[in-house]
Amino acid sequence: MNDGALSGLKIVELGEFISAPHCGKLLADSGADVIKIEKPGFGDKARDWGPFPQDIPNPEKSGLFLYLNTNKRGVTLNLNSVVGINIFKELVKWADVLVENCLPQDTEKMGIDYKTLHQINPALVVTSITYFGQTGPYRGYKACDLISLHTSAEAYVNPLYEVYDPEHDPPLKLPGHSGDFLGGLTGAICTMSAIFAQQTSGVGQHVDLSQQEALAWIISREAGDYFDSDIHFQRDRKFKWENSPKYACKDGYIMMVITDQFWNGLLEMMGNPDWANEDAFQTPVSRVKNLAKSQPKIAEWMKKHTVAEVESAARTQHLPFSVIHSVKEVTADEMFTAREFFVDIDHKVAGKIRFPGAPCKFSATPSKIKRPAPLLGEHNYEVYCQMLGYSPENLVKMKQTGAI
């Protein structure tokens, strides 16, 4: 019986918006038992973000929240109350992992810093996802996705080879909340790493994940070029514009990668133009050297054709090619239907929604959506009474006094 690859792993998630919840989602969708803690009354601020069906805001219908919190149980808990903190510590005793994205100064203030939790449960892995980490001069800096992308140099080099005047066109953040999502994904990886260490040593650790580092690491190859050879990667067109794989057609844009193995196919596609017979284009090495000469010719050909014409020709030649899809074209593509990539979720309040599913197919433990995102406090009874043993009367009192 498949309960998911991480079946049996117990996670408490304390955090909001994207980074910690995305980490929790990856673990939950893989079968871990994730209990998500939200503030009483308001809940996770992703509930206010949307998008909402028909643009009518409703905290139980926010697309971002519903996507990020599949497969989790949800409870409300007020960590600014003594009762709340005590209940939190009981949950921590139950858990294998705590995933959180609070500011370091806030976990300290609440008395739930790693040192304290380690005393309560020495086997506990605590994954703290923050923008700048638990140590260093920027510790505790307030930030958001935009700030993380800019402080990691990811923005500085974006968009690639596009900018005519870097003095005028600023470094650019990436689409959506790429920084926050990466914080979550890297957090899930580091969590698993700490779990394996715990399996051999019996002792937990603090995973101090800085989103700035998670993002900067992705640029490590380019950083390597700088450290080795003083090359300064940048968004300025002057810097290697001829390497750009993007082409404008009559009615849209396409991406085509032309490495040497595809050179002849490319020429076939363009009807074997005369210019390609010049000496400059006869060997792999010379072709690389003369990209600045061939690129304008290729770009000119592209401009004369529609996207559909180029697509058909490129496919015939088996070239690495893609139309630059908008989300409309992407979601309509038959490939995703064939792969059963999108999942249909039926939520108690929000109704039926279609979401992207899991990017990896596991042969033995495929990902499943066993439950949609929880309603606010949906599992208070199940967790506090059934699991921790509080009486229903106590539960009512906790609600009345604002502890949950």
């Binding site: 049996g8 697309g63 066109d169 650019l172 999502f181 394996f196 380019e222 990896c360």
Partner: protein, 406 residues
């Protein structure tokens, strides 16, 4: 010293170029023994294009791009065209926990090394197979490169200035890296499952699906309301001001975001313009959003006069979200990253040293993992075929002469 997380794990690494090697490199940093299969007949792509490195020529071009993707791995040479190589891999399998590959669909099966083949030899093998569009479906045979994937997934369409063209993300490795990390998480989850049940499995990771699952907001919005998200530059749906502003110097910028009225007042004060906080055009979140163009101009009038690090410091002290827009050079000298140990110096046997960014893995006892040098071609033939598999030196020499280990 605490044991490394994957100290007892061994990986047979067929991957090439970027997405696959990046995944297996993470495994090496976590302590796994990663055996990279290479061949003189088929040099790694990055080794071929490593012409830019000032250090190339030393260590057989095993620096530059190649080093960035392959440090810490072991290298063996195997001529996959020789039937004896297939035999050797099958013999090696008893020592292997994870097989990783990102060839075109069907290549491993063609060699008789597909998952079903390997499972017969080692039933609990974890077989990771990464590709552009997945191993099933109508596009399973389409050659995948990161820019193509980025175009297909909708990510490129959404990237760029509002009045500009769709653009490739600046870090060319973005799409590769997302695929690598999604794949890595899947491998670690499979490893966990095996540790509990003894069961291995086959992992079919699709790069384009990795990117869609990672950047789902446009797809969610489209599914819900039929709206197509376009390019928004540095702006946000909700927060204003939210952007990137010129500072003193050449190509120096700072990112600033304000999420509530309190932060807005603090920003005005920091700019030495408390009056602005009372300005009706910007007094609440809705007005600030509506008058963003004017707001951005006013803020930039101030930031232009200051150093970007200075602006970050001053605004952070006032409780305003701000960050200097760092370039790659800054990553090497930033005091915060330095103090946190985010730079590593990796030493080769000939005492050449290269500097790299460390992994974001940062565990309180285990630290940041292990960083060894990128191997020379076939450097570990003797270790793998001799020590691990028990062949004699003569046998190994013979195989080298027969161009099996080649």
């Amino acid at each position: 010293m605490q044991k490394l997380p994957l100290e007892n794990i061994r990986v047979l690494d067929f991957t090439q170029v970027r997405m696959g090697p990046q995944l297996t490199q993470w495994l090496a940093v976590m302590g796994a023994e990663v055996i990279k299969i290479e061949s003189k007949l088929r040099p790694d792509y990055f080794q071929m294009i490593a012409v830019s490195s000032k250090l190339s020529g030393q260590n057989n071009n095993r620096v530059g791009y190649f080093a960035s993707m392959n440090y810490g791995k072991l290298s063996i040479t195997l001529n996959m065209k020789h039937p004896k190589s297939i035999e050797l891999i099958k013999q090696m399998l008893k020592h292997i926990d994870i097989v990783a590959e990102n060839f075109r669909t069907g290549v491993m099966e063609h060699w008789g090394l597909g998952y079903e083949d390997l499972k017969k030899i080692k039933p609990d093998i974890i077989f990771y197979s990464g590709s552009g569009f997945g191993r099933t479906g109508p596009m399973k045979d389409v050659p995948a490169f990161a820019p193509v994937i980025g175009g297909f997934s909708g990510f490129v369409f959404e990237n760029g200035y509002p009045d500009g063209e769709p653009a490739e993300p600046g870090c060319q490795g973005w799409t590769d890296s997302i695929g690598a990390e999604q794949g890595l998480f899947a491998v670690l989850a499979a490893l966990y499952h095996r540790s509990k049940t003894g069961e291995g499995q086959y992992l079919d990771l699709s790069m384009v699906e990795s990117e869609l699952a990672f950047a789902p907001e446009a797809a969610i919005e489209y599914a819900m309301n039929g709206k197509v998200r376009g390019r928004v530059g540095n702006r946000d749906d909700v927060m204003a001001p939210h952007g990137c502003y010129r500072c003193k110097g050449v190509d120096k910028w700072v990112a600033i975001a304000v999420s509530n009225d309190e932060e807005w007042v603090a920003l005005c004060k920091s700019m030495g313009n408390s009056e602005l906080a009372k300005d009706k055009r910007f007094s609440d979140a809705l007005c600030r959003r509506d008058n963003q163009d004017e707001l951005d101009r006013l803020i930039e009038d101030w930031t232009r006069k200051h150093d970007h690090y200075e602006v970050m410091k001053r605004l952070q002290e006032a409780g305003v979200m701000a960050g200097a827009s760092l370039n790659i050079e800054d990553l090497g000298s930033d005091p915060h990253l330095k103090e946190r140990g985010f730079l590593v110096d990796i030493e080769y046997p000939d005492k050449t040293k290269i500097r790299r960014l460390a992994s974001p893995l940062n565990l309180s006892s285990t630290g940041r993992g292990i960083y060894k040098y990128a191997p020379a071609l076939g450097e570990h033939n003797r270790y793998v075929f001799g020590e691990l598999m028990g062949m004699s030196d003569e046998e190994i020499k013979r195989l080298e002469n027969e161009e099996v280990l080649y």
